[in-house]
């Protein structure tokens, strides 16, 4: 429950000017369904396979490179994005290369609109130093729960804002990826106060930089030190360390992957490659990594000898295990400091071939497809490993993947997860949302600012899709494979969310998704309206069947070539809003 003190909205509110929702024909007691709609059939029924046959759609066709790129290295096109992409060159290769290189230099992209929106959102914590965060949100006498989680909450809100409005879409996509790679549950006692630090100084600072630098930043971040307990991992007279939690997950989830875990196999029996390097890690490696990281902690008063006034990271040699260690076959001499031991250990992990393969596979899975070709994974992994010290290592690896033939020719192997559904819908519709909370929360619901009500409403509906940002409890992160996201809970949650979005209004009464205002004045027949919004939302043609369905819905029995009273008739306007929601609910909108 990531927002423990936030009053739950009973239901996102319809605006007062609108009639209350009438008891629908689908209500629990009704015995009627609309004509043409079937009565509920059993989830098990004759002729229906108990498990799906799988396979891919016969109708999935590869769209333009612009659509591929804007949906897989960005959170979907905003109006004008596809045209801008296509203006970047004379060939697909030229356009894609130009776009990728532009996006790989985010600071060269002017982002004034997004910056202004974030400034106007009046977040209070995003520019605080780590020590300020510690003092204001952990020490302050004592902070309320709202104050504690404020840095996490504001980071989350800013993340939404940037995903929707920033032009630096690849950076945002990679920030999203790396947060999930180093996944933590942010809405906790110390993770919450320090969350701005990990987001700004570790993930964003290195998302297109160097993996070893990011890993080091993660290992030293107060949030991770607490989340996986390394802040209390000290030399113990018995075994030389006191907590192996971070060490295990660092090997399994951050660097090498469970596929190269040899469990409790004795170290000398783990198979090696031609160079004598073990193919993977075993329990003894977990323990020696834990020993190497003893004394990596921070200034908090639970730690003996710390005043707990600054929260700054410290190497505590007096709490460090000085015995000799062996990690992945490499000898680590005895008698060394916490700083030397721990950093050498992380160097060893990053240079191991399994690290490159693990990270490259996850990047390919994110950027290309759920089951990326091994050749691409291997070449990206080789680059990752050979460039492990390069400041732009990750930029090189990502560029390699994005400019591969596989990137531009793969489509329909992934579906959008809830975050991508929500953000791409907001982008396609040029939505106006300020992700905003008043902290402390006004006690009376009636005094909430409309932006806070809508942020809360969006959260309420979005959460049911099970992809809450910084809200996944275990350290493995949200799954990035379609099998995990095609169940009914995330699907229905997203259907609900887009229907709610088309109905919400800003303080001045204008619609947040102003679909009426954005429909050009010359576009008034059902055919014209549907074609305009197909281009806007999908950026590509639909099948004739799908298009006909949308036209039928919009025309509602009228001649689809005749103008509809979109400017004057409330019901027609509602129908268009419902049409846009239907397009966001459609299967075609889910493909990546």
């Amino acid at each position: 429950m990531p927002y423990p003190n936030l009053p739950a909205l009973p239901q996102p509110q319809s605006r007062p000017s609108r009639p209350p929702s009438r008891p629908g024909l689908f209500s629990a007691l009704a015995g009627h369904f609309p004509a043409g709609y079937p009565a509920p059939t059993g989830m098990r029924r004759p002729g229906k396979p108990v498990a799906p046959p799988g396979g891919t759609s016969s109708t999935v066709t590869l769209p333009s490179v612009a659509v591929v790129a804007l949906n897989r290295m960005a959170f979907g096109p905003r109006p004008g994005d596809i045209a801008a992409f296509n203006a970047l060159g004379g060939t697909d290769t030229a356009r894609l290369t130009a776009y990728v290189d532009q996006q790989l230099s985010p600071t060269s992209i002017s982002d004034t609109d997004c910056d202004n929106r974030i400034a106007a959102a009046t977040y209070q914590t995003l520019n605080k130093t780590a020590t300020q965060l510690f003092q204001d949100h952990h020490l302050a006498d004592p902070p309320t729960w709202e104050q504690r989680i404020q840095p996490a909450l504001e980071t989350e809100l800013a993340t939404w804002m940037r995903a929707v409005y920033s032009k630096r879409q690849l950076l945002e996509s990679m920030v999203h990826f790396w947060h999930n790679h180093f996944s933590m549950y942010a809405y906790e006692f110390l993770e919450g106060p320090m969350w701005v630090q990990v987001d700004r100084d570790v993930i964003r600072a290195n998302a297109l930089g160097n993996f070893r630098a990011m890993l080091g930043g993660i290992a030293r971040s107060q949030s991770m030190l607490v989340y996986l307990d390394n802040f209390i991992n000290f030399a113990d007279s018995g075994v030389g360390y006191s907590n192996e939690n971070f060490a295990r997950e660092c090997l399994e989830l951050h660097c090498l992957g469970a596929t190269v875990s040899y469990g409790n196999t004795p170290r000398n029996l783990v198979p090696t490659d031609g160079n004598g390097v073990p193919l993977g890690y075993c329990q003894e490696d977990v323990q020696d990594l834990a020993r190497a990281l003893t004394g990596w902690t921070f200034d908090i008063d639970y730690i003996p000898g710390q005043a707990g006034t600054t929260g700054q990271f410290v190497y505590r040699n007096d709490l460090h295990s000085t015995e000799a260690k062996i990690l992945l076959g490499t000898q680590m001499a005895s008698g060394r400091t916490a700083q030397v031991d721990g950093n050498q250990a992380l160097d060893i992990l990053v240079q191991h071939p399994a690290c490159g393969k693990f990270i490259a596979k996850k990047l390919c899975r994110r950027l290309v497809g759920d089951f990326p070709p091994q050749s691409l994974v291997d070449s990206a992994a080789a680059l990752f490993t050979s460039q492990w010290q390069a400041p732009d290592q990750l930029k090189q690896v990502v560029r390699h993947i994005l400019l591969s033939n596989e990137f531009r020719t793969t489509w329909g192997e992934k579906i959008k997860r809830p975050f991508e559904i929500a953000v791409s819908a907001l982008r396609a519709s040029s939505a106006e949302l300020r992700f905003y909370y008043q902290i402390p929360y006004p006690p009376d619901y009636n005094t909430w600012h409309v932006d806070m009500m809508d942020t809360s409403g969006l959260h309420y509906l979005y959460e049911m899709g099970n992809q809450i940002l910084f809200g996944w409890h275990p350290p493995n992160g949200h799954p990035d494979i379609r099998g995990a996201w095609q169940a009914s809970s995330p699907r229905v949650a997203c259907w609900r969310l887009v229907n709610w979005l088309v109905e919400t209004q800003q303080a001045n009464g204008t619609w947040r998704l102003n679909v009426i205002g954005q429909t050009p004045s010359g576009v008034r027949s059902a055919n014209e309206i549907v074609d305009f919004w197909i281009d806007r939302i999908y950026g590509r043609a639909l099948s004739a069947f799908d298009r006909d369905q949308l036209v039928d819905f919009m025309a509602s029995g009228h001649n689809a070539d005749l103008d509809l009273p979109l400017d004057t008739d409330d019901a027609t306007q509602d129908r268009l809003r419902s049409l846009v929601a239907l397009m966001f609910m459609s299967p075609e909108f889910l493909w990546r």
């Binding site: 369904f33 989830m43 004759p46 498990a51 209390i232 469970a258 329990q283 493995n476 509602s556 419902s578």
Partner: protein, 461 residues
């Protein structure tokens, strides 16, 4: 092009509405409504509760007397539950390699004690999997897929149970649910499982009110337009919404006096109780309670983090059982709840007053048909009896699950549900009839053709 909605031709729409509704109305009151005459049907409900994070079994079911109490005190000088505190919730004693060992509940599990005394709770000690891995994610994947050591199995063990069960009616409204969070891995690949949070939030009565119903008609048309996996998955979701809105969207009131924990876990238990009571054919349900990864400050018997979580678990299970202990016959007479975790924790405490990842653990079965008491072979806590410092595994988890599948669910297709598992004999945790193991897998569709690639492992590795 001027179709009005009522003229739309829907693929696959065959049944007349009124007849279909009439037949389904009956299902609200009798989950066997769809049984063909003469068919032997099974209407047992299996609920699988997964305790995510690795529950500390030694902190839950505590040695209170005997030589193992002494070993326990040495292993856990700061973390031990006082013998008298646990003895107040005595579970009896077992004979192990170190003689008689008496056990009792951690005091926070008090709400479960009356159920134990009434014989409704079977506890298998030192249960788990031989695969010697202390990873949360591998361990969970292997258990839920039902294939220890193999994590690319294309379906979950409960999915394969539902696929192979020959004693279920041909029509069932809601045979399977995964409540809260994403669909459980044990139901991976199941095409008939409803995955939802709360029924009242599982509705499409949202958006412009005039067109909610029409929109749903067209939504169905769009998802019926193709047979890709995304289209099929969408249709499952739409079918699920139609059912839940019709039968379960009006909220739920437990039996008078029954108090569930006011948490997501409590809510999810109530959702399952509701679905059982309204008689929509539920056979399998899964839910989770997470937070058991207690590497530090676990707390001793007086309180702390573990005690609070265990209290939530115990109160929830007791409320669930009591809530369903009504009806003629009582719903509990058809109910079996399995409570399991990915592994136990290390037998010795760490210096942070917590415990690291371990091995063997308790598996609990709560059922109106339980053979109550302590089961399994207790391996002892002397140093040489531990596995890398952890409680040894003496009972394979698949042995217990197989017994429940055979004796309660009447499904002996063990070789399909747990491929590679051999040597099954019942341990005796539930009452029921022992059926010969069916060595011939029954495939109801092209499952073995490998067409499940889109549903394969959700592991990030």
């Amino acid at each position: 092009m001027s179709n009005c909605p009522c003229q739309i031709t829907r693929r696959g729409f065959v049944a007349g509405c009124s007849a279909a509704i009439a037949s389904f109305a009956g299902s609200r009151f009798n989950s066997l409504a769809f049984a063909s005459p003469g068919t032997v049907t099974n209407d047992e409900v299996l609920v699988v509760l997964f305790l995510r994070g690795g529950q500390d079994g030694l902190h839950f079911i505590v040695p209170t007397a005997g030589n193992d109490r002494g070993f326990y005190q040495s292993l856990r000088p700061n973390l031990q539950i006082p013998a008298a505190a646990a003895q107040a919730y005595s579970l009896g004693s077992v004979t192990g390699p170190n003689g008689q060992t008496a056990f009792g509940f951690h005091p926070a599990a008090a709400p479960l004690h009356p159920l134990f005394q009434a014989g409704k709770l079977a506890i298998v000690q030192a249960c788990g999997q031989a695969a010697n891995e202390r990873s949360h994610f591998d361990s969970m994947n292997w258990i839920e897929l039902g294939t220890p050591g193999v994590d690319n199995t294309a379906s979950g063990w409960l999915t394969r149970h539902l696929m192979t069960a020959t004693n279920l009616p041909p029509n069932v409204l809601v045979p399977s649910m995964s409540v809260g969070g994403l669909q459980a891995l044990s139901q991976l690949g199941s095409n008939e499982t409803i995955n939802l949070g709360s029924p009242s939030d599982f509705s499409l009565q949202i958006g412009p009110w005039r067109y909610q119903e029409e929109q749903r008609i067209f939504l169905r048309n769009l998802y019926e337009a193709d047979t890709s996996w995304v289209h099929q998955a969408g249709l499952q979701a739409l079918d699920a919404v139609d059912i839940i809105e019709l039968y379960a969207s009006n909220g739920y009131t437990p039996r008078p006096g029954v108090v569930y924990p006011d948490t997501w876990f409590g809510q999810n238990l109530q959702t399952i109780a509701q679905m059982i009571k309204i008689g929509v054919g539920l056979r399998v349900a899964t839910l989770d309670l997470g937070g058991w990864d207690t590497h530090e400050n676990e707390g001793d018997g007086a309180g702390g983090f573990f005690a609070a979580l265990l209290g939530e678990l115990a109160q929830g299970l007791a409320a669930f059982y009591e809530d369903l202990d009504v009806g003629t016959p009582a719903f509990t007479s058809k109910l079996t709840v399995v409570v399991m975790s990915e592994f136990g924790r290390r037998a010795y405490e760490n210096p942070d007053r917590g415990t690291d990842h371990g091995h063997g653990n308790n598996l609990m079965v709560l059922s109106g048909n339980a053979l109550g008491g302590l089961h399994g072979s207790w391996p002892g806590l002397a140093a040489a009896q531990l596995n890398q410092g952890d409680v040894e595994v003496t009972t394979e988890f698949r042995r217990v699950l197989s017994e429940i599948l055979i004796r309660r669910m009447g499904n002996p297709a063990i070789s399909t549900i747990f491929p590679g598992y051999t040597g099954y004999t019942p341990l005796g945790v539930v009452q029921g009839v022992d059926l010969p193991i069916d060595a011939q897998p029954i495939f109801s569709d092209g499952f073995e053709s490998g067409g499940l690639s889109g549903w394969s492992s959700v592991v990030n590795g």
